[in-house]
Amino acid sequence: MSTAVGTQPDDGTPPALELRGVTVRFGNVPALSRVSVRLRAGEVTCVLGENGSGKSTLVAVLSGVLRPAEGEVLVDGQPVRFRSPQQARARGVATVWQDLAIAPLMSVWRNFFLGAEPTRGAWPFRRLDVGRAEEVTARAMARVGVPGLDPTQPASALRAGERQSLAIARALHFGARVLVIDEPTAPMTVAQRALVLQSVVAARDSGLAVLFVTHSPQYAHLVGDRFLLLGGGRVAGDLTRADVDVEDLTRLVAGSDELTLLARSLRSD
């Protein structure tokens, strides 16, 4: 996967997914105000912001759960209107929700192929091709950085990061072109987060456009090509990797944070 990727400027091809001036209102309160973002193939865009800054609303618009009051959603430069998550999926936009789309009591391979199971034999003896499904699942999981997984264990036995990897592996396998990842708010260990980052990188290297919603500027800077900072439903900053280093990014994200105030007040003592 040595596709020309990264932060180079427009090469003429339209972005895989683009939002132009998108506004979403809940009642009279705008949850998003004129937000524009471009997701390009082979590029990771990290969305950073505090709780309530509009991150989840942005994910909901991209995945077809919410329809914007104003503005456009474009796939490959063509304006589209997603009426449902299924329509978004059909256009190649896969969303990895915080805890969704995993049935905890079903085995890993059953989860992986849910809704698109491989079969063999002719009706009425058409049956699941269990061997192949297990093999493909194990391979797809290894591809996103979870090798040696027993695909027959229940999905509930997976750790938080591995579940995320399972959902990402599924999106990769079934030909998604845009991957929207809403990182769980539940605390994850360093190793678990590393697993998610690995899946993100695997997706990027497969040529997907990735939108990664995260709380941690440190982790965002590890994988991000662009950083979209949200604050109060507005774009507070649209930066590239060339613009910022980790320290800058951390400072920007925490800029309005109470931590800064606290630090200032402590220093003034």
Binding site: R126, G148, A191, A194, Q198
Partner: protein, 393 residues
Amino acid sequence: MRDLPSRPARSWTLEGAARPQEVSLSSSRRPSALSGVLPATTDRLPASGPATPPVPRSTGRRLLDRLLARPSVGALVGLVAVGLFFAPQAPGLLSSGGLATVFDVAAPLGIGGVAIALLMVAGQFDLSIGVVAVTTSLVTALLVSQLGLGIWPALLVSLAVALLIGAVNGLLVVTTGLPSFLVTLATFLVLQGGSLAVATAVAGSSRITGLSGAAGWESALAVFGATTQLGDGRFRISLVWWLLATALTSWLLWRTRFGNAVFASGGARRAARELGVPVARTTVLLFLGTAAAGWLIGTLGLVRLGGVQVDPALGAEVEFIVVAVIGGCLLTGGYGSTVGAALGALLYAVGREGIVLAGWDPRWFQVFLGLLLLVALLANGVVRRRLRAVPRW
């Protein structure tokens, strides 16, 4: 932090030796960024970090988990325990005659139980299966006795009636989103009252007999009422139907796309919908299945008695659910097995016959059943907590 190019040797790349796909990360275009943050943290990575295979548990614990992952294990253990309990007190239980009686009790219960089990895995209930059995056999009997139809055409019509009832149940549940427990309770009441009233109005009593003269009775008897004498036990063909139903539903559940849809419908309905699993269609098909099972139970009884006695009671409805729960089905759906439900039916029959043969007051059976249900519910709760529990590591 950034000027530490030597440190990645201690970080992921070291572990990456066993994990080829990690090369994609470490050899990507920004090693400096990777070494910027991770080395400081990877120092504290425990040994069971991403490089080790997941679920680093002891083999004993893993075996236990594997066993618990088989929902029918509980019913099997219960069956063995109850069998051992009654064997000394009722030795006749294990004779050919005793077994024939046990199977005779278990078969109709098992046929309904496996259908209910499938439905419960999909997260739904059906209280109307027993009354469907009575209603459809009443339809068959009325068609034969009042209209002079042959037994086969009458059976086909009553099967159509059963499927209609199932379709109404299923569509009501799917379109209204009401709990299926209540929807099918309504169906139960309507059919119970309706069949009693119709039977009395048309035939003059709630009992219709003398069907054995109908056209095609011999062949119907061969399919639904045949018996085999083995030793001093008379084994009925309902046993074969029961085994067939168990095998078919088990195959459907574990080895077909439909089965995967059943699991997902009960285990993660929202996720299933989002992934394009036909949840509504699956649910309606399952209600058709339980209705057809009800028809089969009714037909087996009808052919055996050569008539029908309209006497539905809610107790019988609950028994199917009890059998499915004993078989390991969770009330919340998403988990269960039809083999387990079949074993549950067998357990039920062994308990009932054991109490009779041991010479106890048969009323103790209800106590036995209640205790059994309680134990099964508690055991299933443990299993669910165990399976749902997310390991910290």
